[in-house]
C-alpha cells in the first residue's frame, strides 16, 4: 500500500499531540507501519504547529512535504490555509471554523484574511468545515475540540468505528473518556 499522509495543523496548545497519538494508535492497531512527527518547544507557545502522521506498509520519512498530504486536519482556519500547499491535488481539508488571531493581526500589522474556507474551495480544494468548538461545548468541554475533529476525520476512513473507539480508550485518561466519546460521536455525525 502506498503511504498515506495526514497532517494535523493548528495553534500551539490546541491539543494536536493527543490527536496524533490517537491516529498513531489507530493505524498501528490496523497493522500498518506508522511514523508520527511532532514539534515540541518554543512553537508550542501559541505558534503555528504541525504534526505529520504517515502510515503504510513501510514508512521511511517522518515528514510530509509539499503536495503530499492526503488529508489536512486543521484546528484553525488560517492554519488550514497556511498549510494548503502541502495537500495533494485530490486531497481533503477537514477544518474547525475557529479563528485565532496571530500576533501580527493582534498588533494591527496584518489583517486576518476573510472568507478563507470559500477561497480554498474556489481554488478547487475539498474543504469540510465544522464549528468544532460549539460541538465540543455541547459534548461538555471546549478542550474536546481535538476529539470532535477526530470524529469528523473518521468519516474519511474505512476503518470500523470500533477501531476508533479502541484507539480513543488507549489515549484518553479514563476520567475524560465518556465526554470524549460523546465529542467523537458528535463530530462524526455532525
Amino acid at each position: 500500500m502506498k503511504t498515506k499522509n495526514i497532517m494535523i495543523v493548528g495553534v500551539g496548545g490546541q491539543g494536536s499531540l493527543l490527536a496524533s497519538k490517537l491516529l498513531g494508535q489507530l493505524f498501528l492497531s490496523q497493522g500498518y507501519d506508522v511514523k508520527v512527527s511532532e514539534v515540541h518547544g518554543m512553537s508550542q507557545r501559541g505558534g503555528s504547529v504541525v504534526t505529520y502522521v504517515r502510515y503504510g506498509d513501510r514508512v521511511a520519512s517522518p515528514l510530509i512535504d509539499k503536495g503530499e498530504a492526503d488529508l489536512i486536519v486543521s484546528f484553525e482556519v488560517l492554519e488550514a490555509a497556511r498549510w494548503m500547499s502541502f495537500l495533494r491535488a485530490d486531497g481533503q481539508i477537514v477544518t474547525s471554523t475557529q479563528q485565532i488571531d496571530p500576533m501580527p493581526v493582534v498588533t494591527g500589522a496584518a489583517a486576518y484574511p476573510e472568507d478563507l474556507v470559500r477561497k480554498m474551495r474556489d481554488a478547487g480544494v475539498k474543504v469540510d468545515a465544522l464549528d468544532c468548538l460549539s460541538v465540543a461545548m455541547e459534548a461538555g468541554s471546549a478542550k474536546a475540540v481535538n476529539i470532535v475533529l477526530m470524529g469528523r476525520l473518521s468519516r474519511y476512513f474505512d476503518f470500523p468505528e470500533e477501531a476508533w473507539q479502541q484507539a480513543l480508550e488507549a489515549v484518553v485518561p479514563p476520567k475524560f473518556l465518556e465526554m470524549n466519546k460523546k465529542a467523537f460521536a458528535l463530530g462524526r455525525e455532525a
Binding site: S43, M103, A110
Partner: protein, 581 residues
C-alpha cells in the same frame, strides 16, 4: 511487543534495557523526553541537574562507581558540558557511560544550529547516530557495550526529527550487567599532566581500534541498489529522506556510527559506484572526512549547510520528480510563538517598556519578550549571558546605562548559569539591576523541576534553594519580590531599583500559567457598551485579546483571568464572567 514510540522514549527504553542505573540531565529541546521517560522506570535513578556540566560529571561519577550511567542534553548544552567531555575521553569509564546530544537543525527551539558531530571528532569520542526510534533503542544499548569494550564514553546523537518522531519499536527485558566495583586507579582517573600525557596515546589507540570495529560493524551497512550511477552515503533522518525518494534505486551506505568512520568500507563503496553523494544536514562532516581519505564525493555543493533537509529537497537535488503543491493566492499572516495568555512575564515586560528600559535577555519562554508588540528584549545569547552581559554593558557605559538597563533571567536559567554572573556583579561591583523571572518551573522545555522549585523529577519533595537568601549571601542588600500581575508594584520596583546606587535583584514571582496546580480566575469579557476601542489593552500582546468591529474582544478559551489587561483599560470595560458577578 510492538509499540509506537517517540525517538527519545525509545532511547530511554534502550537505557532501561541496558541496565542503566543513574541518569542526570538538564532539559533542552529536543532532548528532554529521554530523561523524562527514563524517570518513569523505577529501576533507574533519574534527576534534573542544574546544568549539563553538572549532569555529565554526575554521570561520570556513577560510571566510576561501577553503574551504567547516562546524561542527555541539547546541542548547546554540550557546549556547557564540553569541559568534562574532553577529559572524560582521557580517563575513559568504569561502567558504561552514554551521553546523548540532540541537535536542532532548522532551529525549532534553539538559538543556533551548531553541528554537534564535530564534538565527537574534537573530543575523540565515538558517536552513534540513530535514524528512527528502533535504532534509538538499539543504539543506546549498543553504546553501553561499546563504552565498556573500548573504555570510552559514547555519544548518542539525536536530531529533532529522530527525537520527536514516533515510530515502531520492539521492546525486550532489562538486563543488568554485573557491577564493576570501583577500584582506585590514580594513573587513569587523576588527570594531571603526568597522567594525562600517558592517557593521550591510549585515546589515539582507542580511536584506531574503534575505526577497525567500524569496518565490520553492521550498523554501517551497504544497502544494494539497481543503478550504480550514484551511490549515497547518509545517516540519521537524512537516510529516511533518501529511502523515501529513491527506494532501492541507488546503493546506499547507511552509517550508524559517524565517528570514527570506516575508511575501507567507504572506499570500497565508492569504488562500486560511478559517483558518490553524501546526504547530511548542516556541516559537511562526513563529506570532509571522505575527502581527507582521498575519496571524491559531492555533498554541500548540492545540499545547503543550513536548515533541515526533507524528501522534496533530496528529490530536487538528486533530479527525482516531486510534487510541488499549490498555495492559496492570499497573504497569510505569520503566526510566531507568543507568551501564553496569563503568562506572568507579560506584566513585567510591559513595565520595562513603560520605563523605556534597555533589556538584556536570556534563554527561556521569556525570550518571547522580544516579539512585537512588547519588543522589549534587545539581546539573547546563551544560558546566563543576560547577567554577565549587563555587567559588561554597565562597566562600559557607567551611569549612562546603569539607571535604565536591566537584565531578565528565568529561575531555571539562573540556577543553570546565572549565579556565576551574579557573583561577578557582586564582586566587581557594577550597579546592575538583575530581574529574576521566577515562574517556579523550567517552562520552555515543558515544565521540568529545578533547584528552586522544591520538587524533584518525580514530583516528590526535594531540596529548595531560596533565591532571596542566595542573592543576599552574595552581597546584594537590595533584593525584593514583586507579583508581575500587579503592574503598579512592578513599576515601583523597577523605578526604585534602577534609581538605587547599588546593585539590586528584583524577583518577579508567579508560577507559570500552564502549571496544572495553578488555579485560574474565570475568563474576562469586554463590555461592548464601555469599550471605547482605544487599544490600550492591545499593548501587552495577549493572544486572548483581539479587536472585532472596533472593540476589544476576549477569547474565553484562552483567557485565564489574570487581569493585567483590565489594569490598562481607562474605562474599566473588562468584566469577570464568573457567575453572580
Amino acid at each position: 511487543m510492538k509499540k509506537l514510540m517517540l525517538g527519545n522514549a525509545a532511547a530511554a527504553r534502550g537505557l532501561y534495557e541496558a541496565g542503566c542505573a543513574v541518569v542526570s540531565s538538564y532539559p533542552g529541546t529536543p532532548s528532554t523526553e529521554i530523561t523524562e521517560e527514563a524517570a518513569k522506570y523505577d529501576e533507574i535513578y533519574c534527576e534534573w541537574a542544574p546544568n549539563e556540566k553538572v549532569a555529565m560529571e554526575t554521570a561520570f561519577g556513577a560510571s566510576l562507581a561501577g553503574k551504567r550511567s547516562f546524561c542527555g542534553m541539547k546541542h548547546v548544552g554540550l557546549n556547557v558540558a564540553a569541559d568534562p567531555l574532553f577529559t572524560v575521553s582521557y580517563t575513559g569509564v568504569n561502567a558504561g557511560m552514554v551521553i546523548a546530544v540532540a541537535d536542532d537543525p532548522g532551529m525549532h527551539s534553539s538559538q543556533n544550529e551548531q553541528d554537534s558531530r564535530h564534538y565527537a571528532r574534537a573530543a575523540k569520542i565515538p558517536m552513534l547516530e540513530p535514524a528512527d526510534s528502533a535504532e534509538a533503542l538499539a543504539f543506546a544499548k549498543l553504546a553501553y557495550d561499546l563504552s565498556e569494550a573500548f573504555d570510552t564514553p559514547v555519544l548518542l546523537k539525536m536530531c529533532t526529527r529522530v527525537a520527536h518522531s514516533q515510530s515502531v519499536v520492539e521492546t525486550s527485558d532489562r538486563i543488568v550487567p554485573p557491577e564493576k566495583p570501583y577500584q582506585k586507579n590514580i594513573a587513569k582517573y587523576v588527570m594531571m599532566p603526568g597522567n594525562a600525557i600517558r592517557r593521550h596515546p591510549a585515546v589515539e589507540e582507542r580511536t584506531r581500534r574503534l575505526a577497525a570495529w567500524a569496518e565490520t560493524a553492521d550498523i554501517n551497512r551497504v544497502e544494494a541498489g539497481e543503478d550504480h550511477a550514484v551511490g549515497i552515503i547518509t545517516s540519521s533522518t537524512c537516510y529516511q529522506y533518501v529511502k523515501e525518494v529513491c527506494g532501492d534505486r541507488y546503493p546506499v551506505l547507511k552509517l550508524g556510527m559517524i565517528w570514527p568512520l570506516p575508511a575501507e568500507k567507504i572506499r570500497a563503496f565508492a569504488a562500486s559506484v560511478e559517483k558518490v553523494i553524501v546526504v547530511e544536514e548542516l556541516d559537511p562532516f562526513v563529506e570532509d572526512q571522505c575527502r581527507a581519505m582521498g575519496i571524491a564525493v559531492t555533498g554541500k555543493a548540492l545540499f545547503p549547510p543550513e536548515g533541515e533537509l526533507s524528501q522534496n529537497i533530496v528529490a530536487e537535488k538528486l533530479g527525482v520528480p516531486y510534487a510541488q503543491g499549490r498555495a492559496l493566492d492570499e497573504t497569510i499572516p505569520a503566526r510566531p510563538p507568543v507568551m501564553c495568555a496569563g503568562c506572568p512575564h507579560r506584566g513585567l515586560f510591559y513595565t520595562l517598556n513603560r520605563n523605556k528600559c534597555t533589556v538584556l535577555g536570556d534563554i527561556g519562554c521569556y525570550t518571547l519578550g522580544a516579539v512585537a508588540p512588547l519588543s522589549s528584549i534587545e539581546m539573547t545569547l546563551c544560558m546566563g549571558a543576560s547577567i554577565s552581559g549587563l555587567h559588561g554593558f554597565n562597566k562600559a557605559l557607567g551611569k549612562e546605562s546603569e539607571n535604565k538597563t536591566v537584565c531578565v533571567i528565568g529561575d531555571s536559567t539562573f540556577m543553570h548559569s546565572g549565579m556565576t554572573g551574579l557573583a561577578n556583579v557582586a564582586y566587581n561591583q557594577s550597579n546592575s539591576t538583575v530581574i529574576i523571572l521566577d515562574n517556579s518551573i523550567t517552562g520552555m522545555t515543558g515544565h521540568q523541576q529545578n533547584p528552586t522549585t522544591g520538587y524533584n523529577i518525580k514530583g516528590d519533595p526535594a531540596g529548595k534553594i531560596d533565591l532571596e537568601s542566595l542573592c543576599r549571601a552574595m552581597g546584594f542588600n537590595r533584593v525584593r519580590v514583586v507579583d508581575p500581575y500587579d503592574l503598579k508594584a512592578c513599576d515601583r520596583a523597577v523605578k526604585e531599583e534602577l534609581a538605587a546606587d547599588e546593585p539590586s535583584v528584583i524577583i518577579s514571582r508567579r508560577p507559570c500559567a500552564l502549571l496544572k496546580y495553578v488555579r485560574h480566575k474565570a475568563p474576562l469579557k469586554v463590555s461592548a457598551d464601555k469599550c471605547i476601542g482605544c487599544r490600550s489593552c492591545m499593548r501587552i500582546g495577549c493572544p486572548a485579546i483581539s479587536i472585532r468591529e472596533g472593540k476589544a474582544r476576549v477569547d474565553f478559551t484562552l483567557c485565564v483571568g489574570c487581569g493585567v489587561c483590565s489594569q490598562l483599560c481607562p474605562v474599566s470595560a473588562f468584566e469577570s464572567t464568573e457567575k453572580g458577578v
